[in-house]
């Protein structure tokens, strides 16, 4: 079940195909300061492994992924 996060930035990547969710995520993440949280929602099922891989590579933390009616919402915290 989703924890409530203090979200500093919301990104809507619903309907976007690979690689756009990750590209949008990376661009939006640039403006965050360490500790801030970003939520990105996507409908591309490939974003599930991709966002995880992005977080793994960039060293940022994927706090949680919530799946609701075909929409994946990822909560990420800037390292």
């Amino acid at each position: 079940m989703a924890t409530t996060y203090q979200v500093d930035k919301l990104v809507d990547a619903k309907g976007q195909s690979c690689p756009m969710p990750v590209v949008m995520l990376a661009k939006a993440f640039k403006d965050l300061t360490p500790g801030q949280i970003l939520a990105i929602s996507a409908t591309d099922p490939g974003s599930k492994p991709d966002v995880r891989a992005w977080a793994d590579k960039t060293g940022n933390t994927l706090l949680e992924m919530v799946e609701e009616q075909g929409v994946f919402t990822f909560y990420l915290q800037k390292a």
Partner: protein, 208 residues
Amino acid sequence: MAIDTGATTSTHDHITLTLDMERLVQERVDELVQERLKSLVTESVATAMKKDPAKNKVAIIASKGTLDMAYPPLILASAAAAMGEDVEIFFTFYGLNIVKKGGAKHLKVAPIANPAMPVPMPNIVGMLPGMTPMATWMMKSQYFAKHNVASLEDLLQECVDLGVKLIACQMTMDVFGMKADDLIDGVEVGGAATFINFANEAHTTLFI
């Protein structure tokens, strides 16, 4: 081994005991040094690997000029750049069409000799005039649009925004009579050595 118990012990025994202890100490020291060395080497190799700049470099060659073959280099390059990597794409031969001004927009799908088309088209039909534009239109409107796939122009722009270095091959530009002005903004011109120099330091090198 006799232990020194006083007057009865000979000098010979003393020497043997000392030598024996020396040997034991030496053996133990060797063991410890070996263990320590092993962990020191493992640690420094791990640190070096972490710092290895080649881990964060991606070198791609884009050599094809059809719609379907223009996507992979741009998708992989923008994804890698989004992951914080240094990316370089070397456009050569037909791949130059991707970075030609207005080129990306006009790339086409070839229906002929392409048994993997979503709607299979016999070669004898594919060879008819107008079939290439039709196959291209079908791919763009019926497949890509439905899945909201970014256009090649948009992906190119993302690559530029994310700092992907775009290099056009000098030799093939000359062959095709292309000038630097014919290329979209932000494309540099270079040769094989330029690419190799970068690729030598990149763990990920792709030829597409």
